[in-house]
Assembly symmetry: C2
Homo-oligomer: 208 residues x 2
Amino acid sequence: MGATGDDVGDTQEAIMHATYRALCKHGYANLTMQTIADEFDKTKGVIHYHYDTKEDLLVAFLEYLLESFEQSLAAIEGETPLERLEAFVDALLFGPPDRGQFDHWELTIALLEVRSEAPYNAEFRRQLSRNYETIEATVVAIVEDGIEQGQFRQNVDPEQVAVLLMTTINGARMYQVSLDRDDVADIVRTALEAVVREWLCADAPTDE
Amino acid sequence: MGATGDDVGDTQEAIMHATYRALCKHGYANLTMQTIADEFDKTKGVIHYHYDTKEDLLVAFLEYLLESFEQSLAAIEGETPLERLEAFVDALLFGPPDRGQFDHWELTIALLEVRSEAPYNAEFRRQLSRNYETIEATVVAIVEDGIEQGQFRQNVDPEQVAVLLMTTINGARMYQVSLDRDDVADIVRTALEAVVREWLCADAPTDE
């Protein structure tokens, strides 16, 4: 094809954006290679050249999202572990500060679509699990750092904290897009601040 | 039709069970009136007599689940608000003690399917919101009771507690069926016990 590595990268990036738009517009149940091609400025053949099936394409899309998210983690700032943890919670709950290209709530709907297929699709589960483990490891590292620096209690279990924060944020994002109320994420953010302060922080009194 | 009220109730209950089995087996994307009829011992005409569309049927299914869940709440026991709250968390996370007819994780997958359609479907959002509000009100009442009895802190916001618990449980159930790990619900249960103890209980020391 005579394409350079950069060209391939650009084409794949364009296909990822087309996939995102098609998924937002039609939902998983009505997503086809054609509806993805309709959002793409080259032919369907170009998509098939890069991805054999819709499933391959969606697994690549999940991987692309994970990489984008990992890059955006670099933009998360905070002098202390607590500040970094709070910035991380905000990035997961409301979208990373420099995400730019994706609307956070549209993306949440698209991910909910893929997630609802995961019980039937081992490849989706595998990629969603990889995304989950990568983000969990980042939260665990922040909590371990906080324990080592004495900002967090010695007796908290970093994995337990990470699982709790991630499940709560995941649940809030799912509710936010599937219920007729738009205050769930804000209430959860306030509640998690209180939980982190009371459960995690070493300066909160403890009876142990 | 000469059907008594009881007959109608029995038929509708049988249709609800057929809907559940079809949803578990085929997923939302492949669910049709025919796949539901295949799980039902009467004709498709009987289903159409009761429900005009697949959407009507699924809204009725959500309503049926809510009623079943409300009935199972009666089986939740606990002498104190804390015991009732913990029993309620367990019922939401692992299924109510007397649910009998539905497998909790199959039901979670079926609900995830319906939830993933909700962003595109106002009727699903309306019924999911009704389910959510009903269960939230129950949690709020337990927390208010605990504050009044002095078991929970005076300064916790019952709605905030309810939203946090429900989003966390929702997130855990979604992860449990869509990731390649089966320990999320157990870890969340342990973490929520710690959170309730540290954040909610009045006998935990407070700095206010």
